[in-house]
């Protein structure tokens, strides 16, 4: 592998440096939490002060900071329904209760929530990316095992692999996830969250995530098996013969000769599978996890704002573009010999 070619990417690098520099400057000039909340109206402040003395609090204080812009809102529940919103940008604080400022504020807030900022890893874009990458990783591993099983000369092994692939491709992922999350613990008498220490408040999300990952990986394995199988079978028969004539065993032939050559041929299909899973990740709503799609749907139903889908699309596209680029690099890396 050659060292990174700086000359070839000069323009891109300069652009990236400028963007990063601008972001840093805007980020530094962005008003912080204190600045935004110092604008709180006296009426709202009164409610906040009242909260201090009571256990049932009434005011929700939100502060979202997103790179170059910040947003804060205060809203009260109960009889005194009030809300105030502020946006901070370039050293200035703007009241954001209506008009364009409100839309900007909403966008910041929606984006913040969909990215899963200020939440654990099993939330929003973090959940989507984590679930998707881990699924593809384990899916490809499992798929390779299944593909080798399916093309194996051992009939039983081939049958088991085929049956597995048939089952997982022939049934919906949503139901597979239900079975893993609800049915399996019901039968065997365990809870997913008990896999994590009881002291861990987020154990319930981690448990659900584990169940989702298992279901996703089992499912993706079946699809990846077909990808790996067709990649292996696309390798020239002469490669097997040459390896055999040199005395290499089946295992050596596969791991040293055939699979390394197959990888490049699988990448476009694995990349497709990745994008499919990225979108399928929204199915985790069914086991109480919140990915990008679920959060945007929730915001839509609870606030009736259809604007939420714009940042959602942007987030998906950024993720897709980033991983598309990554797969492209991997493919290039594996085709240096061509």
């Amino acid at each position: 592998m050659k060292a990174f070619d700086f000359k070839k990417y000069r323009k891109q690098i300069i652009a990236a440096v400028i963007i990063v520099a601008v972001c840093i400057i805007l980020g530094v000039l962005k008003p912080g939490r204190e600045a935004l909340l110092s604008r709180t109206s006296p009426e709202m402040q009164k409610l906040i002060d009242a909260d201090a003395g009571s256990s049932r609090k009434r005011v929700t204080v939100t502060y979202n900071s997103l790179l170059v812009i910040s947003y804060a809102s205060l809203s009260s529940s109960g009889a005194n329904v009030m809300s105030e919103r502020y946006v901070g940008f370039l050293g200035k604080v703007y009241r954001a209760d209506e008009g364009a400022a409100r839309i900007v504020g909403q966008m910041v807030n929606y984006t913040y929530r969909m990215l899963g900022c200020g939440e654990n890893l099993m939330h929003g874009a973090k959940l989507t990316v984590l679930l998707t990458t881990l699924t593809v990783f384990f899916g490809v591993l499992l798929g390779t095992v299944l593909a080798l099983g399916k093309i194996s000369k051992r009939k039983l092994l081939a049958k088991i692999s085929s049956a597995y692939i048939f089952f997982f491709r022939g049934t919906p992922l949503l139901i597979q996830m239900f079975v893993v999350y609800f049915t399996v613990p019901g039968i065997f008498g365990f809870a997913w969250r008990d896999l994590f220490p009881a002291s861990d408040a987020e154990a319930v999300y981690k448990g659900a995530f584990t169940a989702a990952l298992i279901a996703f990986a089992l499912n993706s394995g079946a699809y990846c098996a077909e990808i790996v199988r067709s990649a292996i079978q696309s390798i020239d028969k002469g490669q097997f013969e040459a390896a055999k004539a040199l005395g290499m065993s089946y295992g050596q032939t596969m791991t040293r000769i055939i699979i390394p050559q197959s990888i490049r041929r699988m990448i476009p299909n694995v990349s497709n599978e990745f994008i499919m899973i990225l979108k399928d990740a929204s199915l985790v709503f069914a086991i109480s996890l919140m990915d990008i799609t679920t959060i945007s749907k929730n915001i839509m139903t609870s606030e009736g704002s259809y604007l939420v889908f714009i940042p959602a699309l942007v987030i998906y596209l950024v993720i897709t573009a980033f991983f598309g680029f990554l797969f492209d690099r991997i493919e290039k890396r594996f085709s240096v010999y061509e």
Partner: protein
């Protein structure tokens, strides 16, 4: 391994069917160490199939194969009747190097890695020992400076010479060549044949399926003419090329040499 055997390779009544098609009909051949044998004949005669049967790329339908006088494999009606233990078979198979018509180099490995792969992985030899030997072999086939290139950067003739070096790296006692120059542009054939000639001169036992009549005449100790799954005629190059006794041989040579 002492040289206490008479024939390094021998076949008796080897037959091979692909479905109802009889490709090999009764091949009997004995090869002594150091012999260079060229197999010629029209396409479809079963030459390649015979060669591939010897190192088990094809399973024979029936017949016996002996290596170093030991019964390597005996099959009847597509069933194995007798054979050496697997380990012993594997060991003897390593004594056979194979060169393919289409080279079959490993495209994801450099020239040097191609040559080193099997000795390191199969024979568990030390990497530096193998590399030194590989470089020697590459210089022997005239490709020292290409050691770190990928095969795709090489011409067909160069690739075939790497393939020969790769087979030689396993220190085989016998080399099988399956039409090694058929896939090459005419101007590249010479380099490969020169390497093969040099190899023959060094005393290597060789079995070559070839269409290069000039090569067969110059280098072979014995020439076999195969047609329709049998060895129709065999003899010294002088006998075959100078005075073929069988009608089919005459016709074949006439058509080949006239072109």
């Amino acid at each position: 391994m002492s040289e206490s055997y008479e024939y390094i390779l021998k076949t008796e009544h080897v037959r091979k069917n692909f479905g109802s098609l009889e490709v090999l009909k009764d091949i009997n051949l004995s090869v002594k160490k150091g012999e260079v044998i060229c197999i010629i004949g029209p396409s479809g005669a079963g030459k390649s199939t015979f060669l591939r049967s010897l190192n088990q790329l094809e399973k024979i339908t029936s017949g016996k194969i002996f290596i170093r006088d030991e019964l390597f494999l005996h099959r009847e009606n597509d069933h194995t009747v007798d054979r050496l233990p697997r380990e012993k078979q594997q060991e003897l198979l390593l004594e056979m190097g194979m060169v393919f018509q289409r080279f079959n180099l490993f495209p994801h490995k450099t020239v040097l890695q191609n040559v080193c792969e099997a000795p390191i992985v199969v024979k568990k030899e030390k990497k530096d020992v193998v590399e030194a030997r590989a470089r020697e072999l590459l210089s022997r086939v005239g490709l020292s400076e290409k050691a770190d290139e990928y095969p795709s950067r090489l011409s067909g003739g160069q690739q075939q010479r790497v393939a020969i070096a790769r087979a030689l790296a396993m220190n085989p006692e016998i080399m099988l060549f399956d039409e090694p120059t058929s896939a090459l542009d005419p101007e590249l054939v010479g380099d490969v044949l020169n390497v093969m000639k040099e190899l023959a001169g060094s005393g290597m036992t060789m079995l070559c399926v070839t269409h290069e009549m000039g090569f067969a005449r110059d280098v072979a100790d014995r020439v076999l003419f195969m047609a329709d799954g049998i060895i129709a005629e065999e003899g010294t190059p002088e006998e075959i090329f100078g005075n073929p006794k069988v009608e089919r041989t005459r016709n074949f040579l006439k058509s080949v040499l006239e072109v």
